[in-house]
């Protein structure tokens, strides 16, 4: 019998709770997250407002729920683009090798050489700011290289193992080898990469919105809220606190999940 994997269990529970809260935030929040109230500016945390209110008298907890939803959906969409393109490129170059591999991987290196936020900034400035789709596209592009690299290494290392050779001898098509024989065996490497990627995407979205090029006001996103909170650090410390806590929790829970998955697959407990 296997020993309990505490990381996986804790990660699963925490992630599920947070996911449920975020889902709830799409349909219901205690207050309208954008409703302003002149009488309730800078109220501290209380039973009525769990995380207090901001400079417009908006309920911070409601905004954190909505904002976490925006941040998480951008992160997931980013991840989808980055992982899909990265894995495809990595799988093909890793399995087939040759000149295409060299060219693509050097291109990959060139992309990696840019600081990721800078690259995203360049893409945003070309596509134009203020659109959620553009943020996702920009961040997705930034995330391609890391997935391509990880996938390529995994596929290249498995390319010549015996069961793949056998499959090839049995006349399996290349697509079948890639999808059925190789892909499942690279999952132990890919899954942690995905959870780490999700965390990076959350932080990247937060940084982008913090710099004012992500989600546009009055809509909430965790990064934008954090940048708003910084100007009121003395008047409303709970604003930065609540928002920061939400980011930390989100990243922490998925981090736990990733660590748990890694341990399970490696057999380390």
């Amino acid at each position: 019998m296997r020993r309990r994997n505490g990381f996986l269990a804790a990660g699963l529970v925490l992630t599920c709770v947070l996911a449920a809260l975020i889902l709830l935030g799409f349909f219901w929040t205690p207050y309208d997250p954008n409703a302003m109230a002149a009488g309730a500016k800078f109220d501290g945390p209380s039973l009525a407002h769990w995380m207090g209110t901001d400079s417009f008298g908006r309920d911070i907890f409601s905004r954190v729920l909505k904002g976490a939803g925006a941040t998480a959906s951008i992160a997931l969409a980013t991840l989808a683009i980055g992982a899909a393109c990265g894995c495809l490129a990595g799988a093909l170059t890793g399995y087939f090798g040759g000149p295409a591999d060299e060219v693509l991987m050097r291109l990959n290196d060139a992309l990696t050489a840019f600081p990721s936020i800078l690259l995203a900034l360049v893409v945003i400035s070309i596509l134009g700011p203020g659109k959620k789709g553009n943020v996702i596209l920009a961040l997705g592009l930034v995330f391609i290289p890391s997935f391509a690299r990880v996938t390529r290494t995994a596929f290249a290392s498995l390319r010549d193992v015996n069961y793949i050779k056998s499959a090839r001898l049995m006349g399996a098509s290349k697509a079948r080898i890639l999808a059925v024989h190789l892909l499942p065996n690279t999952l132990p490497v890919l899954l942690p990469a995905l959870t780490i990627g999700f965390n990076n995407a959350v932080l990247a979205e937060a940084s982008m919105s913090f710099l004012g090029i992500g989600v546009t006001p009055p809509d909430a996103s965790l990064g934008y809220m954090l940048s708003e909170a910084q100007g009121m650090l003395f008047a409303a410390p709970w604003y930065a606190g609540g928002t920061g806590l939400a980011i930390v929790l989100m990243v922490f829970s998925v981090g736990l999940l990733g660590e748990g998955l890694r341990r399970r697959d490696k057999g380390v407990l």
């Binding site: 954008n34 800078f42 417009f56 100007g231 650090l233 930065a240 980011i247």
Partner: protein, 527 residues
């Protein structure tokens, strides 16, 4: 081992979110630690300590938000922030007053001929530059000629000076002859008078103002000292250090730690966090803040829709929510600091009335409202905050507004010059102290009429205003123009933003002007 790694990761995350919260453009965390703030004894070591009034040196440190232009030559200055503080060092023949009038400065008196074409200025007796040289007619003429269009490339030419046909001086009298009368000509003669033949103006400027330039450390500070041979009432302070604090987060820190005694243009949120060690002086920014509407683009080509928006927006609520109640409401393209041109009866022409707004929208064919985009330059937080409140208020009447933040450059190119927008929240200022500077832009042919306002009545009033000789008649026409803007709901006029200045307790004498300057000559210790 793995647990420790994870713990480290967790710590790193906490640190990261803290760092993210402090990375507004500098090492704020460091500043916070090296300058501890102790609420119980605010600024005990500061030079401006009121208790030790007799001992403290007669000097203060003023914080400014940006470095000055590379050249300190006033004729080359571009940035408003440079002109703002160098106002203390330079003077023109004329000088603005806090009331919005012009008084003679380098000139002692002036005469205007009956045909309003010849201006003769008598240079003040015994007036001298900071380097000790007397001001001569040659200096004055040279300074004025230097600013005429078609001169050196890096000089900011003053277009209105091209009206000068002849300029000459005899002993201490300077005579200027114009090609046609211009009632606003004097306001252009506030340009700085500089010593002819002095070539250090870029780095060690010399003027005639109440303060003289001492030294400058780029991106750090500028030191000014009192000019003891000043012709007028001398400055109270012996020395003023202008300290450049570009990082918005450090402003509060440096005020509270006692490193800075005075800081202008603060936000109401910053002021709220300052505590008891400071008095807050409230002036105005001298801007017409409004939601400017593109009068040529549907649905705002219909006057009823524009009026509906005016009724739908609750301007007092904007002040309460986004500005803590600071600011003065306006109803047309004119702000109260302009005194005689300001018509207060227009301010409440459109009281907040959601029902009326809905009725007007229905009449105009939008019973269910419509969707619109508000373009806002993203580097101006007050305008973004205003837009956020407006979005909420418009929901009440069924109008769905969306905010589009753009960079300042793109706002200038696409919105202002290209006129590609529906609505935009910005502040428009006056370049000179005349009503014309605010109103001329809405004539139908003006090149900077970015809202495409088109009212034949307005155009004809403007012609009457500029061609009328008398000041009184002119003022009346300008007021009629303001009323025309209001009645046609050219824009949703909101407010003139408050200019909040934090002054350490024990200091007084900050004077506000209808133009963007920071006058330090009147600042003094109360004790």
């Amino acid at each position: 081992m793995k647990t420790r790694k994870l713990l480290a990761l967790l710590l790193l995350l906490g640190l990261l979110s803290a760092a993210l919260c402090g990375c507004g453009g500098g090492s704020t965390g460091e500043t916070a630690e090296s300058k501890p703030t102790d609420g119980s004894t605010p600024g005990t070591e500061a030079p401006g300590d009121p208790q030790g009034a007799a001992d403290h040196p007669n000097e203060i440190t003023v914080g400014i938000a940006q470095d000055l232009d590379e050249s300190l030559d006033p004729h080359k200055a571009v940035a408003a922030g440079t002109k703002e503080v160098m106002f203390n060092v330079f003077e023109g023949l004329m000088k603005p007053t806090p009331d919005g009038d012009l008084i003679p400065a380098v000139a002692e008196k002036y005469e205007i001929s009956d045909d309003q074409l010849t201006y003769s200025f008598t240079i003040r007796d015994g007036i001298q530059f900071h380097n000790g040289d007397p001001v001569t007619g040659a200096d004055v003429l040279w300074s004025i000629r230097r600013c005429m269009p078609g001169g050196e490339a890096d000089i900011q030419a003053v277009e209105a000076l091209s009206a000068i046909q002849e300029a000459e001086y005899k002993e201490n009298t300077v005579t200027l002859t114009l090609d046609q009368p211009n009632t606003e000509f004097l306001s252009y003669l506030t340009l700085a008078i500089l010593p002819q033949g002095y070539d250090g103006q870029d780095t060690a400027p010399v003027g005639t103002g109440p303060f003289q330039f001492v030294s400058r450390a780029a991106q750090d500070n500028i030191v000014l000292e009192r000019f003891d041979d000043y012709w007028g009432e001398p400055a109270y302070l012996e020395k003023v250090t202008l300290k450049i604090i570009e990082n918005a987060d450090s402003i509060l820190m440096s005020l509270q730690s006692g490193a800075v005694d005075l800081f202008a243009h603060l936000t109401s949120t910053q002021v709220q966090q300052l505590g008891d060690a400071f008095n807050i002086e409230e002036g105005t920014m001298n801007l017409v803040q409004a939601m400017y509407l593109n009068n040529a683009a549907a649905p705002f080509d219909d006057v009823r829709v524009r009026q509906a928006l005016c009724y739908a927006v609750d301007r007092q609520q904007i002040l309460d929510l986004a500005f803590d109640g600071y600011g003065s409401l306006i109803g047309s393209s004119m702000y109260p600091a302009f005194g005689k041109y300001f018509d207060d009866s227009l301010t409440n022409y459109y009281p907040h009335d959601a029902e009326k707004a809905k009725a007007l929208l229905a009449e105009a064919g939008y019973p269910d409202g419509f969707s619109m985009t508000i373009t806002v330059p993203s580097n101006y937080q007050p305008h973004i905050d205003t837009a956020q409140v407006i979005v909420e208020q418009l929901k009440e009447v069924g109008v769905t507004a969306e905010i589009l933040p753009v960079t300042w450059e793109s706002w200038l190119n696409d919105t202002y010059i290209g006129r590609q927008f529906q609505a935009t929240v910005v502040g428009v200022d006056a370049s000179t102290m005349t009503a014309r500077a605010l109103l001329e832009r809405f004539t139908s042919t003006a090149s900077n009429n970015f809202i495409n306002y088109n009212s034949p009545l307005y155009d004809s009033l403007f012609v009457k205003a500029t061609s009328s000789g008398g000041d009184e008649a002119q003022t009346a026409f300008y007021k009629e123009m303001e009323a025309d803007l209001t009645k046609n709901a050219a824009n949703v006029y909101i407010q003139d933003l408050a200019d909040l200045v934090a002054v350490r307790k024990g200091l007084e004498g900050v004077r506000f002007y209808p133009i963007y300057v920071l006058d330090l000559a009147g600042v003094r210790y109360t004790a």
